[in-house]
């Protein structure tokens, strides 16, 4: 790929400020939530050890919460708690709760009955038994629970970057989106080290004998508080509007970097996942977001695209990209996939996306309805001449396209189809294609150019504003470098776009990105 590969060390050195603040945020998030989890989990554990009848219910609920996928949990939090630290801390707290409750419960009920009886027989009150006998004796088990919770939290805290709570996830997910291994490692290695170090430190505490443990237990809350306090440190910024950009957008020349260099845009920016970004803009948590121009949520949440008057966003025309090998193996494939060429315009795609993203129709149904409406739908032939493997990235539009292709192949050829949808970001999808895990997936010309090929910035800039030049360039280069063919474009251009709420855009009279810049400079 890139000739002038930067080493990981150089990257980390260059980004040391960010790395430092992200690490602090990460530690802070982990420990604030841990502190709350202990404050809630410990008393709950004691309670259910006292009233065993409750234990099933409480542990059951904590267990169910534990199994909710983290990104879904973060999504649920937004309507209630907005974005940023609050929902992240609550989500982390929920994940940390189960091990703490369960180990407190197990630790206390595991204490020798005779020791408890002796304590009662000597006239200790219930609270004295709890503080002097039960908790100290259960402490090694409780600490094991806290240790588990800490390690879980370090891991889950990477996802906090999805809802603008910061942490090392910013690098990790930014790196995945940008196909930047150094960036991924710059986030992943410190996160892994954090987990290992914290685990080792807590295991030392756990192995202490009772005497030392007593002292350590006075110090531990203080340490947790201080570490939790890290989170409060790096957050001094001020502008009247708040922007929420995806990790991918943050690192791209045709993203935040371009906004800064070409427009000179200065705006308070937080990093957020696109899964929750639109909702956050709608609920006025964010004012400006980096969306996609065909996104259905644009319609659903009544957002307006700001005109890119200095053309920094290159065209992103979608087309299926196929391995040359696959084209040889399935002679009818190219012809079948090209059936869709030119059929879907921007507004059609936005509408299709709206139906899945907002009306919650299944991609399968949306795809079928559309194919029927343009007369391309054929009933499956149920052929057995080999299996075509379709990939897709992890958002609605790609699911719909994958479904359409799947129906076209089944209806027009004797091939079978297997779909591998929801392959993380560009990097994951492209790697799957390169490594013969899938045969094709829908890609965008802009992504092909700027993320996968990464040509000299001069070439990129020259290309960026001409959709045909871009298409020709990626076609030739992909064939040469990767033995992958770009089929005909589907028609729509799903480029990056800055968007605001319709009403706010009208109120502030901001219609283009230059307007936005001027407005920010004045206020």
């Amino acid at each position: 790929m890139n000739e002038h590969q930067q080493t990981l060390w150089q990257f980390m050195h260059e980004q040391s400020d960010k790395l430092f603040s992200q690490t602090l945020q990460h530690v802070g998030l982990t420990f604030i939530s841990l502190l709350f989890a202990i404050a809630i989990g410990l008393p709950l554990g004691v309670l259910i050890a006292r009233k065993r009848k409750l234990s099933g219910t409480v542990l059951g609920i904590a267990g169910v919460l534990q199994t909710v996928p983290s990104i879904a949990l973060l999504g649920f939090m937004i309507p209630i708690l907005g974005i940023g630290a609050k929902p992240a801390i609550v989500a982390l707290l929920i994940y940390a709760l189960l091990p703490i409750i369960r180990n407190t419960y197990t630790g206390i009920i595991g204490i020798d009955q005779h020791v408890k009886e002796a304590a009662r027989a000597m006239g200790m009150s219930k609270s004295q038994i709890l503080l002097k006998v039960e908790l100290p004796l259960a402490m090694p088990v409780i600490l094991a629970g806290i240790r588990t919770a800490t390690v879980i939290n370090v891991g889950v805290a990477t996802l906090a970057s999805f809802i603008a709570a910061g942490g090392l996830g910013e690098f990790i997910f930014g790196g995945i989106s940008l196909n930047n291994t150094n960036m991924i490692l710059a986030g992943a290695i410190p996160a892994a080290l954090l987990a290992i170090i914290l685990d080792a430190l807590l295991s030392l505490v756990q192995k202490m004998n009772f005497k030392k443990l007593r002292k350590a237990l006075y110090i531990l809350p203080v340490v947790i508080l201080i570490l939790g306090g890290f989170y409060a440190l790096p957050s001094a910024y001020g502008s009247t509007l708040t922007a929420g950009f995806t990790p991918e957008f943050m690192g791209r020349q045709d993203g935040d970097l371009g906004l800064k260099s070409t427009y000179g845009l200065k705006i308070h920016t937080i990093v957020i996942s696109d899964a929750v970004m639109y909702k956050a803009a709608f609920s006025k948590e964010l004012d400006v977001i980096s969306g996609y121009s065909t996104d259905g949520r644009l319609k659903a949440f009544d957002l307006k695209i700001l005109k890119d008057d200095k053309s920094i966003f290159p065209p992103y025309y979608a087309a299926p990209i196929v391995r040359d090998e696959a084209l040889k193996q399935f002679p009818q494939l190219a012809e079948t996939l090209n059936l869709l060429a030119g059929e879907i315009t921007d507004s059609v795609m936005t509408d299709l996306n709206y139906r899945t993203d907002y009306l919650h129709q299944t991609p399968e149904r949306v795809a079928k309805d559309f194919l029927i409406s343009i007369g391309l739908y054929r009933a499956p032939k149920n052929g057995h001449k080999g299996v075509v493997r379709i990939g897709s990235k992890i958002f609605g539009e790609q699911y719909i396209l994958a479904e359409m292709y799947s129906m076209l192949i089944r209806g027009n050829t004797d091939y079978e189809v297997s779909t591998k949808t929801g392959l993380g970001g560009t990097k994951i999808c492209f790697d799957a294609l390169m490594n013969d895990q899938i045969d094709f997936y829908p890609e965008y010309t802009g992504t092909g150019l700027l993320v996968l090929l990464q040509p000299d910035p001069k070439i990129a800039k020259e290309m960026a504003h001409d959709k045909d030049k871009t298409y020709d360039y990626v076609s030739t280069e992909f064939e040469k470098k990767f033995k992958i063919k770009w089929l005909k474009p589907i028609g729509f251009n799903n480029s990056y776009a800055l968007m605001m709420r319709q009403k706010q855009s009208k109120d502030l009279n901001v219609n283009t990105i230059t307007d936005l810049k001027n407005y920010l400079d004045k206020n």
Partner: protein, 319 residues
């Protein structure tokens, strides 16, 4: 003084304790004897309200204990249990100091009292800073006893206190226990299933079965005036050894020959036959000098002792 009035307790459908009444006099040791499940431990635990009775009343020093705060009640009663129940996270010194701390004694007082107790109980000085698991079973039980005695409570409850010990340790600790001055001042209720132990330590024995008292009386009464077959059979297996322990030289005084005068220190006729035989066997003397209640002294040898004992037995049988 402890008094139980018609105490009952049910666990589910099982009547664990069924209308039990007895009285333990000041400084008396009452042993609750019976097989497992006879209700003896439940009875004991109702005295310090570790178990609350369903019916009936318990009085300690004429006070109804149901009117007292159970925690305060328990700090005033010594408790020794079979599994010892020392706190594994406390040192020996801290274990002994639990109740004094609850009663807010000052440090110096606790220290002095602890020192005094470990000397009396033959615990090594350096054991104070050790944790329970670093001690032998016998030492742990001594610590358990020290913990119960530290505030010098007038009432002591013991639940199979020597049950967890091996035979050799048990015998030696029982002996020490019997000789301990502190314990002689206390009103003690002790639970055991070991007949020998009961006879060794009890002033009176309360024989229980299926939640009821079968017979309550001195060891001698249990042996020679059993109220029914159960009581008789309960002691049958170890009868001879028990009789040797129960019968004192004073009891068989009239059956011993008026002996030749002998020089030396004489022993009290309170000595039981068992101990007298042990003395004869272990020393090289062939005769013991015993002085009876009538100030008369008799020298007895092994043969005379056995003969006297047999005559006493016959006399009891014909009564």
């Amino acid at each position: 003084m402890i008094q139980l009035k018609e105490i009952s307790k049910k666990f589910g459908d099982t009547q664990a304790v069924n209308k039990i009444s007895f009285k333990v006099e000041e400084k008396e040791t009452l042993v609750l004897l019976g097989t497992s499940g006879c209700g003896k431990t439940t009875t004991l635990k109702m005295i310090n309200r570790l178990i609350e009775p369903d019916a009936g009343q318990v009085f300690i020093n004429d006070e109804n204990i149901t009117n007292q705060d159970p925690d305060v009640l328990r700090t005033g009663i010594g408790y020794v249990m079979q599994n010892i129940g020392l706190f594994p996270h406390y040192t020996v010194a801290e274990n002994i100091a639990v109740v004094p701390k609850l009663l807010k004694w000052d440090k110096e007082k606790i220290k002095v009292r602890t020192q005094e107790l470990i000397k009396k109980l033959h615990l090594p000085e350096n054991s104070l800073s050790m944790f329970p698991h670093e001690l032998s079973g016998g030492q742990q039980q001594r610590v358990g006893l020290a913990r119960a005695l530290v505030t010098d409570p007038s009432v002591l409850l013991m639940d199979e206190p020597f049950g967890a010990l091996d035979n050799v340790t048990r015998t030696s600790i029982q002996k020490e226990f019997k000789g301990l001055e502190e314990l002689k001042r206390k009103t003690i209720v002790m639970v055991t299933h070991d007949v020998q132990e009961a006879f060794e330590l009890a002033d009176r024995i309360c024989l229980m079965d299926k939640g009821k008292i079968i017979q309550i009386g001195t060891p001698k009464e249990l042996l020679y005036q059993p109220v029914n077959d159960f009581a008789r059979k309960f002691l049958a297996g170890q009868r001879l050894a028990l009789e040797f322990k129960v019968v004192k030289i004073q009891d068989i005084w009239t059956y011993l020959p008026k002996g030749a005068l002998q020089d030396g220190r004489s022993l009290s006729a309170d000595l039981n036959v068992w101990d007298a035989m042990e003395l004869l066997r272990s020393s090289d003397r062939s005769e013991l000098l015993v002085s009876g209640a009538d100030k008369e002294s008799k020298a007895v040898n092994f043969e005379q002792l056995t003969k006297g004992f047999n005559q006493f037995q016959n006399a009891q049988a014909h009564e």
